[in-house]
């Protein structure tokens, strides 16, 4: 079932199309990576979903109906640029954030306390926000965001500012939320997080969707499997199958592009008795590579079009 659907959404800033005819949908209960280079228009899209901006053209369907301000209470939005009031107590600020999302004072207080306990942060309840370390404030910010138990979460660079231990805790919470049936948009530049967490991705460049779909399918459809090959011995003793194209190589380490499905097997057969294989990893292209290649191609297209228009 679709939780969110954008149909031909366009948003102008002056003459500039910050969102250009964008359509995509997100299924309920999934984590969807919203990725793209800086300035691609991710934040503008998010702001339209969170009712901060109104689209100039097109429509956004959320929870099965055209988007409207009351939806805000059912959405959590963690912006990339974090913001907390500095001079008030942690608990006062959390209660305020909860109430802004429609909770009663008591509910907001109880839920804040539960989350603070869960994240081992209940010592900070009466501290002023300005006395917290960066990592602490990030935790508080996250609690403030999800306090009202929303069905739909939009997390923009949720891991920034967290040390590896706390990042792991946060990752577990995100997966737990997914298990509870919540839908999550994860916007990030850290592709390893996308690989670990996302079911689907939407790649944006220059205000347009340039790639959309399930992570696994996109990788497979890229049809370009990689082979990492590490060994001891002299590689000149063996024949490298024609179905493998060298991407990079050093003395004991080769990376191949697999052009023929049988080529990896051939390589193993050819190696037997001649060199010792230390590592043999057949992998789909990384999302990093897909990102760079797709964005590069889309920029190239744009530039080519401009070039043609000029002439």
């Amino acid at each position: 079932m679709e939780l969110l659907k954008l149909n031909n959404v366009t948003k102008y800033f002056g003459d500039y199309k910050a969102t250009n005819n964008v359509s995509f949908s997100i299924k309920k209960g999934q984590i969807c990576g919203l990725i793209g280079p800086n300035g691609a228009g991710k934040t503008t899209i998010i702001r339209q979903i969170t009712n901060i901006y109104m689209p100039d053209e097109g429509e956004i369907i959320l929870f099965g109906e055209p988007i409207k301000p009351v939806h805000q209470n059912r959405i959590a939005y963690l912006p990339e640029e974090r913001g907390l009031y500095k001079k008030i107590k942690v608990i006062d600020m959390l209660v305020y954030f909860g109430k802004l999302k429609g909770l009663s004072s008591k509910d907001s207080f109880d839920k804040s306390m539960n989350w603070l306990r869960k994240l081992n942060a209940d010592d900070w309840v009466n501290k002023k926000v300005q006395d917290l370390s960066k990592g602490m404030s990030q935790k508080i910010q996250f609690i403030g965001t999800i306090l009202h138990d929303p069905e739909f979460l939009i997390l923009d660079e949720p891991f920034s500012g967290f040390d590896p231990v706390n990042a792991e805790i946060l990752k577990d919470i995100i997966l737990e939320l997914k298990q509870q049936g919540k839908t999550i948009i994860l916007s990030t530049h850290v592709m390893s997080q996308v690989e670990k967490l996302c079911d689907d991705i939407i790649l944006i460049n220059k205000g347009q969707v340039i790639l959309e779909g399930s992570l696994v399918e996109i990788k497979q459809s890229f049809g370009r499997n990689n082979l990492l090959f590490e060994f001891e011995g002299n590689i000149n003793n063996i024949d490298i199958p024609v179905g493998l194209e060298i991407i990079t190589n050093s003395q004991n380490r080769y990376e191949f592009k697999v052009l023929d499905k049988n080529a990896p097997n051939e390589l193993i057969q050819n190696s037997v008795g001649k060199i010792n294989i230390n590592k043999f990893v057949l992998d789909l292209p990384s999302i990093d590579e897909i990102f760079i290649e797709t964005v590069g191609r889309s920029n190239l297209d744009e530039d080519t079009i401009l070039e043609i228009r000029k002439n």
Binding site: P69, Y77, P79
Partner: protein, 436 residues
């Protein structure tokens, strides 16, 4: 949850978090006490001034008749002596006397008196001596020309102007126009400061939320209009709290002012004996005299002040908030707000003309310009009888101006709070208005 509940949430957050701030508490309770102290010190000094010396002078009288009169004026300050100048100098050196004055025979002609002291002791005694001796010598000079007692008396009497106010029912009342005009001036000035204080308070609050990036979280939870209105109402409530507290404090202090002033009045200086009154009664009479100089503050003036504070605050604060939303630090905000600030300053420049002639046609016209009304109307209400139709007109204009300011500001605010990067100019903001 409805939109009005969110406004209420925002109001209660803004109000409670700011009312606890040190600045607000100090401003609310210490400011009136500080003002009262300054006033009290001034009043006390002006009362004490007349009796401002503790020196007691020996009078070496060569005229045979002036010294006697001088000592009669104030036996606590002067006494006659038979000693000569050399002996008096010895006594002065031995600190047996504070000082001595020599009245020469030619005093009626040249008016010259020399006073010898050890130095120091302030300047109070010279003023007192000049004052006391001056009157005696003037009288003696007049007598020399055979002036009659009645002529002397007539010459000494000055002009004593007093004004009375005739009410619509034909009754004659105490007229306090002069004092009320000055009160109007004071209130106008207080209004001017309040516009700045609360304008910059709301501006800082908007800028803080923008530079802290909280505003994006707020905007994803409530409508920008609700955020703006909630903030404006909360800080307005804060201002109202402060003004009402001031009024209660000042009212309370005025209630006890009589007793406090009484403590500083020395009954001896009131010449109680000669007026056939007891010292206490004389003190009370003096206090009543001082207090009766203080005009009655009408309910209309208080209500007017509160109304124009609110209307002025709402108009200016929404504009300040809108312009503050366009930038992310207080300096840039102040720069952008300069054109609006000018509208607060101009009425202060006009205020003395308004005081001189609060009913002139151009003063009336200016006081109905909504951005000038808060200051000028308050001055006029204090200084003159503003007709009812003018008040009604002004109330309507002020309230509709607020709604217009709110409408304009909401459009700017909505765009401004999420605008980052290049610092916008005033004309860019006008452009946003057309876009919105």
């Amino acid at each position: 949850m409805s939109s009005s509940n969110k406004i209420f949430t925002i109001i209660s957050h803004e109000y409670t978090s700011k009312i606890k701030s040190k600045g607000f508490i100090i401003g609310t309770f210490l400011a009136p006490i500080a003002i009262a102290l300054i006033l009290a010190v001034t009043v006390v000094f002006s009362i004490l001034q007349k009796d401002s010396t503790t020196l007691k002078l020996a009078i070496l009288d060569n005229t045979e008749f002036i010294g006697e009169q001088l000592v009669a004026k104030d036996t606590s300050k002067y006494f006659l002596t038979e000693l000569n100048q050399v002996d008096l100098t010895d006594q002065l050196n031995n600190e047996e006397i504070d000082g001595f004055a020599i009245l020469t025979k030619s005093i009626l002609d040249d008016g010259k008196v020399i006073v010898y002291t050890k130095g120091g002791g302030g300047i109070g005694y010279t003023e007192a001596l000049e004052n006391n001796l001056g009157k005696i010598i003037r009288n003696e000079r007049l007598k020399k020309f055979n002036a009659s007692d009645s002529l002397i008396h007539a010459l000494q009497a000055g002009v004593h102007l007093s004004t009375k106010k005739v009410t619509e029912t034909g009754e004659i009342e105490k007229d306090s126009t002069a004092q009320l005009t000055y009160i109007g001036y004071g209130l106008g000035f207080v209004m001017y400061m309040l516009m700045f204080i609360y304008g910059s308070m709301i501006s800082r609050s908007v800028v803080e939320e923008k530079s802290n990036r909280i505003v994006e979280i707020l905007a994803s939870s409530a409508k920008p209009f609700d955020i703006l209105l909630g903030k404006v109402l909360a800080i307005g409530g804060l201002g109202l709290t402060q003004i009402l507290t001031w009024m209660i404090l000042i009212g309370g202090m005025l209630l006890f002012a009589g007793q406090i002033i009484g403590l500083f009045i020395d009954p001896d200086t009131l010449q109680a004996g000669s007026m056939g009154m007891s010292a206490d009664a004389a003190t009370q009479a003096k206090v009543n005299e001082i207090m009766s100089d203080f005009p009655d503050i009408s309910f209309g003036l208080i209500a007017g002040f509160i109304f124009y504070f609110l209307s002025g605050y709402f108009i200016y604060s929404t504009l300040f908030a809108a312009l503050g939303s366009a930038v992310d630090n207080d300096q840039d905000a102040a720069q952008l707000q300069t054109p609006v600030t000018l509208f607060i300053v101009v009425p202060i420049l006009m205020i003395q003309f308004v005081m001189a002639n609060p009913d002139a046609w151009w003063v009336v016209a200016a006081s109905h310009f909504p951005l000038f009304s808060p200051i000028l109307m308050v001055v006029r209400i204090a200084a003159t009888n503003v007709p009812a139709w003018e008040i009604i007109l002004s109330v309507i204009v002020s309230i509709s101006s607020f709604f217009m300011a709110l409408w304009v500001s909401a459009k700017i605010y909505r765009i401004g709070i999420l605008m980052t990067g290049k610092k916008p100019k005033f004309k860019d903001i006008i452009k946003w208005l057309r876009q919105g």
